[in-house]
């Protein structure tokens, strides 16, 4: 029974990684850049939700929506101010800028909200008992998994069925050809950042519901792990981010439960290195030949 419990917890943690990884992978797919500030947008989302709940006493649903709104706008602003001017710059310059934005957000949070950790309130209270009480699952765990599935299905429908979603796929494949179709590539990139950042807000709330200590660095480790998950699944691939996130969560929880809590992160990255040695493009990644 503890195996099942670990598995469910792993899927739940993996769901959070998957939601974050979706943001990484969509932005990478379309803008061909690694937005290392993505993890810190999660932290901002969590803070917004925290203050909406605690300081303004707003209902949870409103607080989450507010966090999504703020992060969506933040994502668009970051893209406009920091990344758009570098559209033609070498990718290393964009990468360093992204790291800069990451520190900017962390330090901004430090000034605004101080370094002392805040205890995130419980939004989803309750547990479900199965098998005569032998297996207890928290409501947060279930909601996290459900949210991830809903987001995954929603994104699949969006990119597969809608005009904007198809335009995003066209841009990610060939920007110049997309322009020749009359697609506004800049707007498409903005929409991608907006969606990714909105999802980051949801991830932030779910993360802090599961691990309720909130501080300015809260987003950085999950951000890096979700980036790892995106690479693990095949960066640029939406199903890859989902699969990579879930697997990474399961591996991490199993490593904690059966091997060593201290070494769990090292084990996660060890698995990643092994997978990339065998499949350099990630589990579902396409082999791409870069022309030089």
């Amino acid at each position: 029974m503890s195996f099942l419990s670990h598995l469910i917890n792993g899927i739940s943690l993996g769901s959070i990684y998957a939601i974050i990884a979706l943001g990484y992978t969509m932005v990478y797919g379309i803008a061909k850049m690694l937005n290392f500030a993505h993890g810190d947008v999660i932290m901002v989302g969590a803070y917004v939700c925290f203050f909406a709940l605690n300081a303004f006493g707003l209902p949870p649903v409103v607080s989450i929506l507010l966090a999504m709104l703020v992060c969506t706008v933040l994502g668009i602003i970051i893209e406009r101010l920091a990344y758009k001017p570098l559209r033609a710059a070498p990718s290393l310059a964009v990468l360093i800028t992204a790291i800069g934005v990451s520190y900017f957000l962390q330090n901004g949070a430090l000034i605004l909200w101080s370094a002392s950790p805040k205890v995130f309130p419980t939004i989803f209270e309750g547990t479900i008992r199965l098998f005569d009480g032998q297996l207890t699952i928290g409501l947060t765990t279930l909601i996290t998994i459900a949210a991830c599935i809903v987001i995954m299905v929603g994104l699949t429908l969006f990119t597969g069925k809608t005009k904007m979603g198809k335009a995003m796929r066209a841009c990610s494949e060939d920007k110049d050809a997309a322009i020749l179709m009359g697609i506004n590539v800049n707007r498409t990139i903005s929409v991608t950042f907006a969606i990714g950042s909105g999802l980051a807000a949801i991830a932030g709330v779910l993360l802090c519901s599961a691990y309720p200590l909130l501080q300015p660095t809260t987003g950085s480790m999950p951000g890096i792990k979700a980036f790892t998950a995106a690479v693990f699944g095949g960066i640029g691939s939406i199903p890859g981010a989902f699969l990579g996130g879930i697997l990474l969560g399961i591996i991490e929880i199993f490593a904690k439960a059966y091997i060593s809590t201290e070494l769990s992160d090292a084990i996660v990255f060890l698995v990643l290195i092994l997978v990339l040695l065998i499949k350099p493009a990630g589990l579902l990644g396409k082999k791409t030949v870069v022309k030089v």
Partner: protein
């Protein structure tokens, strides 16, 4: 319809297009011929806004294009089928065509799609197929069909015969003639000078970024200079 006056385009320090001027009139097939690297594709990319000229003017139906954002040029009625086809490999045939109609009024898309399927029945048979799995000839048809989905007044074709078997090349050129006969104006860039000049009303010869010769298709076909340089004697 299209008037290009004294454009100059640079790739970094390389002066790729030098003071090029030409005209395309309503209902014509006009061809730009020249060797590899003469600047033909660069000219097309400048007209469609992917590249920028530092001088001169490009007017399409009396509207200046030079400072218009590239994605706003398609809705004006100008479609560009790029060199190497550049279809969206991971999308289906029909999704590619839908992208071609991105700026088209939604109420007209179904009609345009039917027209393209009528012209290229092969595409209809394969509409659910992933575009990257099509043969070279089918991919060229898809690229042209995608260009036609916006029902352009002027269609610019960059090397539509590239990499195709002779029988397919004939087919593609027949289709280009048909399009002209149905009222679409064509600006055709080709390395296959003989084929291009045969169907063209007028043509221009580009050499290292400059227009060195112009005339009707027949005049250029019979010109000793063109014969020597581009038609193998």
């Amino acid at each position: 319809m299209l008037s290009v006056q004294n454009i100059n385009v640079y790739y970094g320090k390389i002066h790729a297009v030098k003071d090029v001027s030409f005209e395309v009139n309503d209902g014509e097939i006009v061809t730009l011929i020249g060797a590899n690297g003469a600047g033909k594709s660069t000219v097309l990319k400048t007209v469609s806004g992917l590249l920028h000229s530092t001088t001169g003017s490009i007017t399409f139906e009396n509207k200046e294009l030079l400072r218009v954002a590239a994605h706003k040029i398609v809705p004006m009625g100008l479609a560009h089928v790029p060199e190497g086809r550049r279809i969206f490999q991971a999308m289906t045939v029909e999704e590619n065509l839908e992208m071609g109609a991105y700026v088209t009024k939604p109420s007209l898309v179904a009609e345009h799609l039917e027209n393209v399927y009528e012209r290229f029945p092969r595409l209809k048979e394969r509409k659910k197929q992933i575009a990257g799995t099509l043969s070279g000839g089918e991919q060229q048809m898809l690229a042209m069909g995608r260009g036609l989905m916006s029902d352009p007044k002027l269609l610019m074709l960059d090397e539509p015969s590239m990499g195709l078997a002779p029988i397919l090349v004939e087919q593609i050129f027949d289709i280009i003639k048909e399009l002209r006969d149905h009222g679409t104006t064509i600006l055709l860039v080709e390395q296959n000078a003989r084929m291009a000049l045969k169907i063209a009303d007028r043509g221009y010869v580009l050499e290292t970024g400059k227009i060195v010769l112009s005339g009707t298709g027949a005049e250029l076909l019979n010109s000793p200079a063109v014969k020597k340089a581009y038609l193998g004697g």
